[in-house]
């Protein structure tokens, strides 16, 4: 019962957050000097053009009225029409969303793999030079953001040892049999591993750039909580029973140590998704973030609004999911 109540409270605050985001985006774009119309029109547009466009986008109404019209449209799934492409914002945004989701999830998988490996190796070899080396590389990886890692990867594996692609999502010369925009996922379903390999060769660099800081966080946190767990009595008991060190770490300590890491990974994952904006730009990857920067440069206001709202929805959804996972996994919260 209490769990249900806390879930409902959480949903309610999530809703408030989203409305807050909507209000801020709306007003940032409109209240600041210069009407959106002036930003939309090419230089040399006539007074008549201005009036026509103003009416078309409903900008002749008062700002609270405009907001209500926009909000009710948004709630009905109508995000307006993109100014540059003249297509519905929702369709545009949804066509790019799969690319960004695939990239983010691939980055999360890479980060978990590297971070987990670092933490386990560091715990297994604690007190050795390897542990010290892992700590130092984690510290370095954390100090520098994904944007710089992306540039370093471009130099290293795009130019110096060119084994990966550094721009695009898939080689343009390939014939694409896909019906959805989840290229990576669909290539596996269709058993087209040639395409799969090409997509991975394109995605790996940007995904790794996004993954490096998160891997360091996972590595540090998991190692720390493993360290604490390793001193607990039940772990000592397992050891006296004669289990080997590997078994003790993997089967006894890890299940208990993983929970605190999980909560933090959730929050950090939203940072990773936010990082896709610039990383996609850097690697000319055709996702939502790249589209967002183009939209800003082209002053495509409806599109910008749609993308920011979508990002906010993803962020809050991830946070909500993590909270629910945490509640489901933590027995203390379940029975409370």
């Amino acid at each position: 019962m209490q769990l249900l109540q806390s879930v409902l409270t959480r949903l309610f605050t999530t809703l408030i957050t989203l409305i807050g985001v909507a209000v801020i985006v709306f007003f940032v774009i409109r209240v600041v000097p210069g009407t959106p119309i002036a930003m939309m029109l090419p230089p040399g547009a006539t007074e008549d053009d201005v009036a026509r466009l103003t009416a078309l986008y409903g900008l002749d109404k008062s700002i609270p009225q405009q907001f209500l019209i926009w909000l009710s449209g948004t709630l009905h799934g109508d995000f307006g029409t993109s100014i540059t492409t003249r297509q519905p914002v929702l369709a545009l945004v949804l066509s790019r969303l799969p690319a960004t989701l695939e990239l983010s999830i691939m980055a999360l998988v890479i980060a978990t793999a590297i971070g987990g490996f670092m933490a386990l190796t560091g715990t297994r070899l604690r007190g050795t030079k390897t542990e010290a080396a892992i700590d130092i590389s984690n510290g370095m990886a954390l100090s520098v953001p994904d944007f710089l890692w992306g540039l370093i990867l471009i130099l290293g594996f795009g130019v110096l040892i060119p084994i990966f692609h550094i721009s695009g999502r898939i080689s343009p010369s390939l014939d694409l049999p896909f019906t959805s925009n989840f290229y990576l996922f669909e290539s596996v379903l269709r058993l087209r591993f040639d395409l799969w390999a090409d997509i991975v060769a394109h995605m790996f660099m940007p995904a790794l750039a996004l993954a490096i800081p998160l891997a360091a966080i996972i590595g540090q946190l998991l190692k720390q909580s493993l360290k604490e767990t390793m001193h607990l009595d039940y772990v000592t008991l397992a050891r006296t029973k004669g289990y080997g060190e590997n078994h003790v770490i993997l089967h006894e300590a890890l299940p208990n140590a993983i929970l605190p890491t999980l909560t933090l990974v959730g929050v950090q994952f939203t940072f990773l998704i936010g990082g896709t904006v610039i990383i996609e730009r850097l690697f000319s990857y055709e996702g939502l973030g790249n589209m967002a920067i183009d939209a800003v440069i082209n002053r495509d206001l409806p599109l910008i609004q749609g993308i920011v709202i979508l990002f906010a929805v993803i962020f809050t959804a991830v946070n909500l999911l993590v909270d629910l996972c945490y509640a489901a996994l933590n027995p203390r919260l379940r029975h409370a």
């Binding site: 940032v28 774009i29 370095m140 520098v144 540039l151 904006v277 920067i293």
Partner: protein, 283 residues
């Protein structure tokens, strides 16, 4: 008597010295740029385009780190770019710090509706993708130094507010605060005279980290060509140009990238080093 102070001094970690050293060097470069830059950073010479650095075949004397595709001296541009990077770091960092820390203190110490309002705002802010938000703000405000600083302050105040709020809450529950209250201080005076000095170490650490972040934000904005006027040299702008000519002239990307990397690393290591020194428990 044991002198604790000298004991601590002896253990000054190398990463503190190295990062502080690099930042001092950078500060000197920023101030002395007009005197130490070998060339005019804006001077173009199409006949000297994409010259390699001095130790590579085909270089020209006087262009130590080579030239970009317009024949501008890479070293001079990096030196001048330091000015914008450090200006943004200092100004945006400290304004963000003052606003964010004040809001955090108010929320954490006064609690009540002030806390509810500020915490809700932090929640809303956390739902924005920061890079996209900053690009959007610059697009709306127009390019320029003031816009960059406003964008960083508007986006990053939550970094301070979140942490300082939590610290102020912990401090506020302590006995010394209660005794200050009993002594008849007002809430606001207690906040500034009792709580603030105790959260100051945390604020210093956050400020150092924020300066590194501000430099990255400026570089990202320059990278997407939304920072300041396109003529002035910026590290991000040089990196963007280097990215496009990467297969012909790697040095246009590599040298600004190394400078940016070391600077961001230094701010971050300085912050982490200070954190360790202020509070060994935080480790």
């Amino acid at each position: 008597m044991l002198d604790g102070r000298s004991q601590i001094k002896r253990k000054l970690p190398p990463r503190l010295i190295l990062s502080a050293g690099w930042l001092i060097l950078l500060g000197a470069a920023a101030m002395l740029a007009p005197w130490i830059a070998p060339k005019d950073p804006l001077a173009q010479d199409l006949f000297l385009g994409q010259l390699p650095p001095a130790w590579v075949q085909g270089h020209e004397p006087g262009y130590l780190l080579g030239t970009d595709s317009l024949g501008r001296d890479v070293l001079s541009r990096i030196l001048y770019g330091t000015r914008l990077a450090l200006t943004v770091a200092l100004l945006a960092g400290s304004i963000t710090c003052i606003i964010g820390a004040t809001l955090g203190l108010l929320a954490g110490f006064l609690r009540g509706w002030v806390d509810i309002m500020i915490s809700r705002a932090i929640d809303i802010w956390m739902a924005f993708p920061p890079v996209l938000f900053s690009i959007l703000l610059i697009a709306v405000l127009g390019p320029g130094l003031t816009s960059i600083i406003i964008a960083i302050v508007v986006i990053d105040w939550t970094r301070f507010a979140r942490v300082i709020r939590a610290e102020a809450m912990t401090q506020g529950a302590m006995d010394y605060v209660a005794s200050a209250q009993v002594a008849g201080r007002t809430r606001l005076s207690t906040m500034f005279t009792e709580i603030l000095p105790n959260v100051l170490p945390t604020i210093t650490v956050l400020l150092t980290l924020e300066m590194g972040i501000a430099i990255i934000v400026e570089a990202i904005l320059s990278f997407v060509n939304l920072s300041i006027s396109t003529d002035d040299p910026t590290w991000g702008g040089m990196i963007a140009e280097g990215r496009t000519s990467i297969h012909q002239a790697w040095w246009v990307l590599v040298f600004p990238l190394i400078t940016l990397f070391l600077t961001v690393l230094s701010f971050s290591q300085l912050g982490e080093g200070l954190k360790d020194r202020f509070d060994p428990v935080l480790r």
